[in-house]
C-alpha cells in the first residue's frame, strides 16, 4: 500500500505541492529555531560558562528576582577570606552593567542588544576574568581600558579620549589599554570598560563596594573543602561557589535563557503547522473526492477497507517525510544565515560548529509526519468507507458526514466559551486574563466548528457589493458550494489574523497607556527627562538641569525592585514635593507629609495585595537586606507611580542607589517651555546623548510614532502563519480548478472568456479571504479589548483600537486574495476545453 501511496503522490504531484510547502514551512521554522539556539548556546557554554577563579564568593541577595543592580559588599571581606587556610589569594572584583560607551562622534555605540559592562581592573592575574592585550593598565580617574573588540568597533586607539556614561556620571578618560576575556564570567564577549579598583567604585557605583571575591586555592588544597571553610567562616551573607558550580549555574542560566527563546519559536512553529493543518485536511479531502472512483475500483478488485485507508495514509506519510526533510534542510540553512549575520555585525559571538542534534531531527520528523498524517486521517477514513459499487457509478461522491453533529458540538463549545468569557470579564486582573484567553481559544474552536454554517451567510453578505454579474455570481456560489472546505480554508486565515489583530490592539493599547501616563505627567509638569539608553542615570543630570535658566524646580524619581514577603514590588524614592506637584495624587488616607518622617506611601491596589493599611508595618527586602517600614498613607491607584513610595533620604537608607530614573522639571513663570527645553538639551546632550527631554510638543511627536519593537518581531512570525493560510487559499482554488475541470470546460465552451474566468476565481478567493480576515479581526479585537478591560490597573489603562491599521490589514488581505487567484486562474485558463467536455 505504501508503494501505491508513493505512486499516487508522484502522479498527482501538483496537487500535493502546496501541501508539502505547508509542512516544509512549519518544520523549517521549528528546525531552524532549534538548530540556531543549540548552536549559540553550545558556543556560549564552551566560551562563557567557565570560571578562572577556583572559588567565587558573591553576596547573597535577599530578593529572589529582578534586581536592578548587583548586591555588593565591603572591602574587608577579601581580607577575611584570604586568612582562611588553603586560600592562596582572594581578590575583590566589581562588575556592573548599564554602562554606555559613546563613539568618537558622541553617539551611543550600537551593541545589538548586548549589555555593556563596567569592571574593576583585576587585582590578581591568577583569577582575572580578562587580561591585558596592549598598553598599560588604567590608573586613576582619567584612565580606562576597553575590550579590544569594542575599541576597534568604536574606532578608538590607545591614547584616545574615550567618553562613556555610567549610572553615576559622564566620564571622559584616556584609553590606556585594551583587554580580552581570559575565558570566564558572564561579561566575557560583551563590551567591557575597566578602571582601577577605586575609580571603578567611584564611577560605577558612586560608593565603596565589590560585587564578588575571586579566590585561588593553594596548590594541593581541595577547592570543595576550602569552599566549605569559607562558607562556614563568613556565614550565610555570601554565596560560595566552586568553579564547577559556577560553570553549572552558567550553563543552567544559558539553558533557561535559550529555553525561553526556543520555546517562543517552537510555539510559533506549532502555530504555523496548525494553520497548515487546514490546508492539508483540505487537500486530502479533495484528492480523495476526486479519486473516489479509482479507490472504489481498488475495493471492487479486492482491497480491504484498511488497505484503501492505508494507501491514503501512505500518501500522507510520503508528504510528511518530504516536507520534514525539506523543512529541516531549510531550517539548517536559516540557522546558518542567522549565524552569518551575527558574524557580519562584528560582535564577538563565538563561532561554534553547527549543532544539529538528533533531538532536532527527531522532533522535526515527528511533528512533520505527525501533523500530515493526523490531518489526512479523516479523508483516509472516508476513503475506506467507499462502497466498491461506487466504481461502477458515474456520480460517485465520498460520503460526507452530516454537519448536524458538528454544529451541535460547535454550539455547545461556543456556549462554554461564552461562559468562560463572562466569568473572565468579571474576574478582572490576571485570573481574568487567563479565563478570557481560555474563553477566546474555546471560542475560536467553536467558530471553526460552526463556520461551515456561518460561511454561506457571511459570504453572501460580504460579496453583496460586488454585484450580480455572471462571473461574480459563479465565483460566490463556488465559495458557498462546499462549506466545509471554504470554512477550513478561511479558518486558517482567521486564526492567524485574529492573533495579529489581538496583538495590534494590545500593543496599541499598551503604547497609548504609556503615552497617557507621560501625558498625565506632562499635564502637571512642563518637562519630563528620561533616559533612552540605560534605565537609570546620573544625579548630575538633575543637578545640571536645575542650573538651566528658567527651571524652577527638578523633582527626582528613583526606582528599584524589592520584595514584601513573596510579592515582588517596585520601590520608589521621590524628592520632596513630587506628590504635591508633578504626580497627580489623591490620598485615601494620610498625606504626602508622612514621607518626610520616613514612612511609606502605597497605592491602594498594592496595599490591598499586601494586606496593609495606614499605621501597619511591613518588611521590605532590597538588595541590601530587610528593612522595616510603616505605612503612612494610601493613594488612589496611580499610573505614574505604582510602587512603594519613600522620601529620597528614606530610600537611600534602605540601600536605594543614588541614581535617578525620571526627572520632572517645572518651568518658572514667564518662561517659554520650548526655550527651557532647548536650554536643558544644550546643557545635557553633549555628555548624555541618550537622555530624552520631552515637553508637550516633543511628546506629541513620539506618540505619533507607530507601534513597533517587539511587535514587529512577533508580527513577522505571525506573518508566516498568514502566508501559510494564504497558500491554503491558493491550494483550495487550484484543487477546485482540477475538481471542476468539466464545469470550467463547459463555461469556456459556451463563451466565458479568460478575463471572466479570472474574475470568477478572484471572487471566490476574495470571498474566502474576507470571510477569514473579518472573522479574525472581530475575534482578535474582541479578545484584546477584553484583555485590556481586565488589565486596567495593570498597565493597560487605555483602550486603543488602531482602526486604520485594521482596515489596512483587511484591505491587504483582499489584495493578497487577488494574488492568490493568479496561479489557479492561469491553470484554469490553460485547461483544454475539448478534454474538459469530452463525453467520456
Amino acid at each position: 500500500m505504501f508503494k501505491l501511496g508513493l505512486r499516487s503522490v508522484l502522479a498527482h504531484r501538483l496537487r500535493f505541492v502546496l501541501c508539502t510547502v505547508a509542512v516544509t514551512l512549519g518544520v523549517a521554522f521549528a528546525g531552524g529555531a532549534m538548530v540556531f539556539t543549540d548552536t549559540l548556546s553550545h558556543a556560549l557554554k564552551k566560551n562563557y560558562a567557565v570560571s578562572t577563579a577556583d572559588i567565587t564568593v558573591t553576596p547573597s541577595s535577599p530578593i529572589e528576582t529582578g534586581t536592578d543592580r548587583p548586591p555588593t559588599f565591603q572591602a574587608g571581606l577579601a581580607d577575611r577570606i584570604a586568612a582562611i587556610p588553603g586560600v592562596a589569594s582572594a581578590a575583590s572584583q566589581l562588575l556592573v552593567s548599564d554602562v554606555e560607551i559613546l563613539t568618537p562622534d558622541g553617539k551611543p555605540l550600537e551593541n545589538y542588544g548586548l549589555t555593556s559592562f563596567g569592571a574593576s581592573w583585576p587585582r590578581d592575574a591568577r583569577v582575572a576574568p580578562f587580561k591585558l592585550v596592549d598598553g598599560t593598565p588604567p590608573s586613576g580617574r582619567n584612565e580606562l581600558a576597553l575590550d579590544d573588540s569594542t575599541a576597534s568597533r568604536a574606532g578608538y586607539a590607545i591614547g584616545d579620549q574615550v567618553r562613556i556614561v555610567t549610572p553615576t556620571q559622564a566620564v571622559t578618560a584616556t584609553l590606556t589599554a585594551t583587554t580580552t576575556p581570559v575565558a570566564a564570567g558572564a561579561a566575557a564577549g560583551a563590551p567591557l570598560v575597566s578602571f582601577d579598583g577605586a575609580t571603578a567604585q567611584y564611577l560605577l557605583l558612586g560608593q565603596a563596594g565589590w560585587t564578588s571575591v575571586s579566590v585561588a586555592v593553594q596548590p594541593g588544597s581541595d577547592a570543595d573543602a576550602v569552599s566549605k571553610a569559607i562558607a562556614t567562616t563568613i556565614g550565610d551573607s555570601v554565596k560560595v561557589r566552586t568553579a564547577q558550580q559556577v560553570t553549572a549555574d552558567g550553563e543552567h542560566s544559558l539553558d533557561s535563557t535559550f529555553g525561553g527563546f526556543s520555546t517562543v519559536l517552537v510555539v510559533f512553529a506549532c502555530l504555523a503547522l496548525f494553520v497548515g493543518t487546514f490546508l492539508i485536511v483540505n487537500t486530502f479531502a479533495m484528492v480523495v473526492a476526486q479519486r473516489s472512483r479509482e479507490l472504489a475500483m481498488l475495493r471492487a478488485i479486492g482491497a480491504s477497507r484498511g488497505q484503501v485507508t492505508g494507501t491514503v495514509v501512505a500518501e500522507s506519510v510520503v508528504i510528511g517525510i518530504l516536507g520534514s526533510t525539506l523543512g529541516l534542510l531549510i531550517g539548517i540553512g536559516v540557522a546558518v544565515g542567522i549565524r552569518f549575520t551575527y558574524q557580519l555585525l562584528d560582535l564577538r559571538i563565538p563561532t561554534a560548529s553547527l549543532q544539529v542534534s538528533p533531538a532536532t531531527i527527531i522532533v522535526c520528523y515527528v511533528i512533520g509526519i505527525g501533523v500530515t498524517v493526523a490531518a489526512a486521517a479523516p479523508a483516509a477514513r472516508r476513503a475506506g468507507k467507499l462502497p466498491p459499487i461506487a466504481a461502477m457509478r458515474d456520480d460517485v461522491t465520498v460520503p460526507e458526514r452530516s454537519l448536524l453533529a458538528r454544529i451541535s458540538i460547535g454550539g455547545f463549545v461556543l456556549l462554554m466559551a461564552v461562559l468562560l468569557y463572562a466569568v473572565g470579564l468579571n474576574a478582572g486582573g490576571t485570573p481574568g486574563v487567563v479565563l478570557i484567553t481560555l474563553g477566546a481559544g474555546t471560542g475560536v474552536i467553536a467558530i471553526v466548528m460552526l463556520s461551515p454554517l456561518l460561511s454561506r451567510y457571511v459570504v453572501r453578505a460580504l460579496m453583496y457589493p460586488f454585484g450580480r454579474k455572471a462571473p461574480v455570481t459563479l465565483g460566490r456560489r463556488n465559495a458557498e458550494r462546499n462549506p466545509r472546505r471554504t470554512s477550513a480554508t478561511a479558518s486558517a486565515l482567521m486564526i492567524s489574523v485574529s492573533l495579529i489583530c489581538g496583538l495590534m490592539v494590545i500593543a496599541a493599547s499598551a503604547k497609548a497607556s504609556i503615552n497617557q501616563s507621560i501625558a498625565d505627567a506632562l499635564g502637571t509638569s512642563s518637562i519630563l527627562i528620561t533616559s533612552g539608553g540605560t534605565p537609570t542615570f546620573s544625579t548630575q543630570i538633575g543637578d545640571r538641569t536645575a542650573q538651566v535658566p528658567g527651571v524652577q524646580s527638578v523633582h527626582r524619581v528613583r526606582q528599584e525592585s524589592g520584595q514584601v514577603g513573596k510579592v515582588s514590588v517596585r520601590v520608589s524614592g521621590v524628592s520632596d514635593g513630587t506628590l504635591d506637584g508633578p504626580v497627580t495624587t489623591t490620598f485615601d488616607a494620610g498625606s504626602a507629609a508622612v514621607l518626610g518622617s520616613g514612612q511609606a506611601v502605597l497605592p491602594r491596589n498594592l496595599a490591598t495585595t499586601l494586606g496593609l493599611t495606614v499605621g501597619k508595618t511591613f518588611d521590605l527586602a532590597t538588595t541590601t537586606g530587610k528593612h522595616r517600614l510603616t505605612v503612612g498613607g494610601i493613594l488612589a491607584p496611580n499610573r505614574q507611580l505604582n510602587a512603594v513610595l519613600l522620601s529620597l533620604p528614606a530610600y537611600q537608607k534602605i540601600g536605594g542607589p543614588v541614581t535617578d530614573n525620571l526627572l520632572y522639571v517645572e518651568v518658572a513663570q514667564g518662561n517659554q517651555v520650548a526655550e527651557v527645553r532647548t536650554g536643558i538639551l544644550d546643557q545635557l546632550k553633549k555628555d548624555y546623548p541618550s537622555i530624552e527631554v520631552r515637553d508637550q510638543q516633543a511628546y506629541a511627536a513620539t506618540a505619533r510614532e507607530p507601534v513597533n519593537g517587539v511587535l514587529a518581531a512577533l508580527g513577522f512570525l505571525l506573518a508566516l502563519a498568514i502566508l501559510i493560510a494564504l497558500l491554503g487559499i491558493v491550494n483550495t482554488l487550484a484543487l477546485g480548478v482540477v475538481e471542476r475541470t468539466r464545469e470550467i470546460g463547459l463555461l469556456r465552451a459556451i463563451g466565458m472568456d479568460r478575463p471572466q474566468l479570472n474574475r470568477m476565481l478572484r471572487v471566490e478567493s476574495i470571498a474566502i479571504t474576507l470571510l477569514g480576515a473579518l472573522l479574525g479581526v472581530v475575534i482578535g479585537v474582541v479578545f484584546a479589548a477584553s484583555v485590556q478591560s481586565s488589565m486596567v490597573d495593570d498597565g493597560l489603562a487605555v483602550r486603543d483600537i488602531p482602526v486604520l491599521q485594521l482596515v489596512i490589514a483587511v484591505a491587504a488581505a483582499a489584495l493578497f486574495a487577488v494574488l492568490a487567484a493568479v496561479w489557479p486562474s492561469r491553470r484554469a485558463a490553460r485547461l483544454d476545453v475539448l478534454r474538459a467536455i469530452a463525453s467520456e
Binding site: K469, A470, P471, T473, L474, R477, N478, E480, R481, R742, E743, L746, L747, R748, A749, I750, G751, M752, D753, R754, Q756, V833, L834, I837, S839
Partner: protein
C-alpha cells in the same frame, strides 16, 4: 443549396494527430455545407471522426488544414478571445452530459450565455423557449434536482436563448431513456420547424437521426454518403451498407 444559404461550411478540413509513422487522420478532406434553418445529423461508427468534425465546426478545435466558415467568418483565422465571444453570441451547445453549471438554477443556466455577454434576455423569446421545453415550474431548481431529461431540455433552452446562428448538439440523447430522448429531439426538431433554427447534431442512434432533415455519414474521417429526409429504417439501411463496404476500399 447555394453557399449563401449555409450557416456553417467546412472546406477541405483535415485533422491529424501525431506525426510520422503514428500519424492518424481523424478527418481527411471533409467538405460540407450546413444549411440555414435545417436540422442536420452527423452519423458514423465510433472513431469515425464525427465528434472531431463537430468540434471543428463549433470552433472548439482547430483543424490541421482547411477552413470552417460561420456565415462569412473563417473560424480557423479568428484569435482565441474572439472565438470565445463568437461561441457565446453566435453558437449554441448541447453536450451529451454535464451540460449545466451545478451552482446555478435552471433559469440562471439558461440565461448564462447572455449574462456572460452582459446582455439582457429578450423576455418574450425567453418565455417562448421556456414554454417550449415545458419546465416553467422547475426554473428555480438546481440541476441536481432535475432528471437527466429535464437537464438536457434546460441545456437546449440555453442553446437557443441567445438566438445563435447554429446549435451544435453532441450526442444530446446519449445518456437518456427513450422517452426523454424523444422529448429532447422533438424540441430540437420544433426549434428548426417553428423558429427557423439551424441545428447540427452528432449521434449514433438511427432513431435520433430520423428527426433530422438530412444525415451525413462519416467513416474513417471521410464523408461516405448522405440521406435527405431520413427515416430510422433508411438510416439503418445506409449504416448496414457502410458496414459491409470496408473502409480500406476508399
Amino acid at each position: 443549396m447555394g453557399v449563401a444559404d449555409a450557416a456553417v461550411r467546412a472546406v477541405g478540413v483535415w485533422k491529424r494527430y501525431g506525426g510520422g509513422q503514428t500519424q492518424v487522420n481523424a478527418l481527411a478532406d471533409v467538405s460540407a455545407d450546413f444549411g440555414k434553418g435545417r436540422f442536420t445529423a452527423i452519423m458514423g461508427p465510433s472513431g469515425s471522426g464525427k465528434s472531431t468534425l463537430l468540434h471543428c465546426l463549433a470552433g472548439l478545435d482547430k483543424p490541421s488544414d482547411g477552413s470552417v466558415f460561420l456565415g462569412d467568418v473563417d473560424l480557423t483565422k479568428v484569435p482565441e478571445k474572439q472565438l470565445t465571444h463568437l461561441r457565446r453570441d453566435r453558437i449554441g451547445f448541447v453536450f451529451q452530459a454535464f451540460n449545466l453549471v451545478p451552482t446555478l438554477t435552471a433559469l440562471e443556466n439558461i440565461t448564462l450565455p447572455l449574462d456572460l455577454a452582459g446582455r439582457k434576455p429578450d423576455q418574450d423569446w425567453l418565455t417562448t423557449v421556456i414554454d417550449t421545453i415545458g419546465l416553467t415550474d422547475r426554473l428555480s431548481h438546481k440541476p441536481s434536482e432535475l432528471s437527466g431529461g429535464q437537464q438536457q431540455r434546460v441545456a437546449c433552452a440555453r442553446a437557443l436563448v441567445s438566438r445563435p446562428d447554429v446549435v451544435f448538439a453532441d450526442e444530446p440523447t446519449g445518456n437518456l431513456d427513450s422517452r426523454s430522448s424523444a422529448d429532447v429531439l422533438d424540441f430540437l426538431h420544433r426549434s428548426v420547424r417553428d423558429f427557423g433554427q439551424t441545428v447540427v447534431m452528432v449521434t449514433h442512434d438511427p432513431s435520433a437521426a430520423s428527426y433530422s432533415d438530412r444525415v451525413l455519414f462519416l467513416a474513417d474521417g471521410t464523408l461516405q454518403s448522405e440521406l435527405i429526409d431520413p427515416t430510422a429504417e433508411s438510416v439503418l439501411d445506409t449504416m448496414k451498407k457502410l458496414d459491409s463496404a470496408p473502409a480500406e476500399q476508399h
